[in-house]
């Protein structure tokens, strides 16, 4: 039932909500974030393509949109990796950067 698809979508929503309403860092409204993310996602396609194309990480066809076949493009995959991985990476890096910026603002305000 595409459990990874569901979890990855949820993770993106949680990361964006944390950025906008919990930490109030609003990175998703900043040019810096989207520029940085454009660089990061390009490298993700390379490194994740390595991990998935060589079968270092393998996915169950039941968990993802695609069938589980390892192909470069298509069948729910981009550069060998399931599209869900893009959401996974986006959420991981957005949460880390939002926490980083939030901590920076707190450090400044307590000085």
């Amino acid at each position: 039932m595409n459990s990874y698809t569901t979890a990855a979508t949820l993770a993106v929503l949680v990361a964006i909500l944390a950025d906008l309403f919990i930490l109030r860092t609003a990175l998703v409204r900043s040019r810096v974030w989207w520029t940085a993310y454009a660089i990061i996602v390009a490298f993700q396609l390379i490194t994740n393509g390595w991990l998935t194309g060589r079968g270092i990480v393998r996915y169950s066809g039941n968990a993802i949109l695609g069938s589980g076949r390892i192909v470069f493009l298509g069948d729910g995959r981009i550069a060998y990796a399931p599209v869900e991985d893009l959401a996974f990476g986006f959420a991981l890096v957005l949460l880390s950067c939002a926490a980083w910026v939030w901590l920076g603002a707190r450090i400044r305000s307590t000085r």
Partner: protein, 115 residues
Amino acid sequence: MLAFVLIGALPLHRYYRLSVFRQPLRVFLAIVPAAGLFIVWDLVATAAGQWHFDPAQTFAARWWGLPLEEYAFFVVIPLAGILTFEAVSVVCARLHESGPPAPTIIPDRTNFDAS
């Protein structure tokens, strides 16, 4: 793959004179929540069989079913993300220095520099 990421991201620190590593506690606190959350996700998804790691291409040592390098992944990737974000902040700040105020939020890095 993790080495490739570090080789790409670590030089940003020197090149753009970032102050990330002068704030080790801030780095630690920024990475721990996201890493913790995603490691729990990874453990659950691996246990549920959503994905698995090829034993022939990963270290034999496992912690709760995950190869050791998988834990390193959740330190290296957020760190590389933060370094990229900070480097882009510096470049954007430089571009806007002589121009009109930036329309987007650009963290004021100068206050982060230990002085």
